[in-house]
């Protein structure tokens, strides 16, 4: 356990020194801000830049708080996921390629500890950035639109956070299997797209699929409340993360490090 802590601290120090602790939170905060701000100021923006003929009247119905919140989530689901995948695709493959993984693993270091510290280090950064992004979005929605109740906010935060956790765990898994980081990124994105596609074409059969999590967020935001399907999908996502976490060191151990 002490070993995990030492390696975990190294991960945090590394992401601080290469400024990941700066830019990842900034990206999420900016993503969180832009949706409520652009939605609110859209009419003004159109008025000032749009070359509208004299007397033209454009009525844009102001979106509801829920709609703005949902579009923030979908930003996180696109750009946020992309940032995570691109930012962490080399988390193991990069170290393996450069040879630093060999330098660490030639010491009596357990593979479990190595993988677990990477998982912990990356997820801490992701969750902190994600929470900051969500909070800034929530703040401006409450300021510029109607209030979103705290329970809705936290349930959404929790459900969508699980999806991000699942993506990161999958990325870690693929990154440990290949030497080229790009392949890890490609595999993660492909699998998540396939999962989303499957669960949207077979919504009844795949209620428990982790890829449904982002669509369950809609139910929460619309005030439909927490359903059994959400619990099932959360459980499945959690169990899959756990399985991947157990499988990763096992497969990684059989890889040749040089």
């Amino acid at each position: 356990m002490k070993l995990v802590w030492v390696l975990f601290k190294k991960e945090l120090m590394e992401s601080a020194r290469n400024f990941k602790w700066l830019w990842v939170p900034i990206v999420f905060i900016v993503l969180g801000l832009t949706e409520p701000l652009t939605a609110y100021y859209l009419p003004d923006i159109l008025n000032s830049v749009g070359d509208l003929p004299e007397g033209a009247v454009i009525e844009i119905p102001p979106p509801s708080a829920g709609e703005v919140f949902m579009s923030t989530i979908s930003q996180f689901n696109m750009i946020g996921v992309l940032v995570i995948v691109l930012g962490f695709m080399g988390i193991i493959s990069g170290e393996r390629k450069s040879g630093t993984a060999a330098m660490v693993l030639v010491k009596p270091v357990s593979y479990n500890a190595y993988i677990l510290s990477k998982w912990g280090g990356s997820l801490l950064l992701i969750w902190v950035s994600y929470i900051l992004g969500m909070l800034s979005s929530w703040y401006y929605i409450n300021l510029l639109f109607e209030n979103i109740p705290a329970s809705t906010f936290f349930q959404t935060l929790f459900i969508f956070g699980m999806w991000l956790t699942f993506i990161m765990t999958m990325l870690l898994f693929f990154s440990s299997l290949v030497k080229a980081s790009g392949i890890a990124a490609f595999a993660t994105i492909t699998v998540s797209i396939i999962l989303s596609f499957l669960s949207s074409s077979l919504p009844e059969k795949l209620k428990w699929s982790p890829s449904r999590l982002s669509s369950y967020v809609v139910e929460i935001v619309n005030g439909e409340g927490w359903s059994g399907d959400i619990t099932a999908a959360m459980m499945v996502a959690g169990v899959l993360c756990l399985l991947l976490l157990l499988l990763t060191p096992f497969l990684f151990k059989n890889k040749e490090l040089s």
Binding site: G99, K107, V109
Partner: protein, 299 residues
């Protein structure tokens, strides 16, 4: 006492049989050089010992029954790569901590090693600003951090300039007192300077092994070198006729003469020279260098 006993270690790749049944022992406190040309399988062998790649077959036994062979081995790869964003001191402390030392202990040990490898002026600089020689010394320091029973160094001097080479070789000479060393090289001169035992690896096979002196004796040839003013080839013909001379080679204006027994035949040659009044400018008996030996053994 053997720190490590390796028995018929094999590594097969799809397209190459890299290591073919290598068997050897490493005696405690000895310095052993693994010598062989590029592509002989040196790095593959060392990587298997360090646990970085899995052998196709074969096994190794350690002195005590160690659960994890990595805890008794310190390893420096051929091209060590560090977390370049760390300082030298941070890297050593980190290396110590992941081998199970406490933070305090690891700090103390790191300071010790920094002095040993002469890195004091760079200890608080980022490794990305280090020179090749400094990185190599840091690499050696990190391999020693947990006071391993066996230190494995893969080509520790090949990439260094003459000064760096000298430094690292001196360092190895000091280390010999404290621990067992196995290092690979293709520069024979280096091996000759520090090691007691040698392993000759060629095409994945160990073709010769043992104490350096024994091997030298085993492949000993007695040869003498005669330099002439001119006309060396004329004397070559004369020497060829003599039964106790095994071989005569001409090299410029000198002759290299292989004899049966150095002491006796040296006297005989002196007699020949003085009786015939040969225009000899230089007479030397040649000691066989490891390089000659290597060439001979490889053939």
């Amino acid at each position: 006492m053997n720190v490590l006993e390796v028995t018929s270690l094999e590594k097969k790749y799809k397209e190459k049989h890299a290591v073919k049944g290598v068997t050897f022992d490493l005696k405690k406190g000895n310095c052993t050089a693994l010598i062989g040309p590029n592509g002989a399988g040196k790095t593959t062998t060392l990587n298997m010992l360090a646990g970085l790649i899995t052998p196709t077959s074969g096994r190794f036994n350690t002195l005590e029954n160690t659960r994890d062979i990595r805890s008794i081995i310190g390893y420096l790869p051929q091209y060590p790569s560090f977390f370049e964003w760390m300082t030298g001191m941070e890297y050593l402390t980190f290396s110590g901590e992941i081998t199970g030392l406490s933070r305090k202990e690891s700090k103390r040990r790191s300071e010790e090693l920094i002095n040993l490898v002469n890195l004091s002026e760079g200890e608080n600089r980022r490794i990305s600003h280090y020179s090749g020689g400094m990185k190599q010394r840091l690499g050696i320091a990190q391999s020693l951090i947990h006071q391993p029973e066996l230190v494995i160094l893969d080509e520790p001097v090949s990439a260094l300039d003459p000064f760096g080479r000298r430094e690292v070789l001196d360092l190895l000479n000091d280390l010999k007192e404290q621990t067992t060393i196995l290092f690979s090289t293709h520069i024979l001169n280096d091996a000759e300077q520090v090691c007691d035992d040698v392993l000759f690896l060629y095409n994945g096979e160990l073709i010769e092994q043992g104490p350096l002196n024994d091997i030298k004796k085993r492949h000993h040839t007695s040869s003498l070198k005669l330099s002439f003013d001119d006309n060396a080839s004329r004397y070559r013909e004369v020497l060829r006729e003599i039964p106790w001379i095994k071989q005569v080679k001409e090299k410029g204006e000198s002759l290299i003469i292989e004899v049966e027994e150095l002491k006796r035949d040296r006297m005989r040659l002196f007699t020949l020279i003085s009786e015939g009044g040969w225009p000899v400018t230089k007479f030397e008996s040649r000691e066989q260098s490891l390089e000659d030996l290597f060439m001979k053994v490889m053939r």
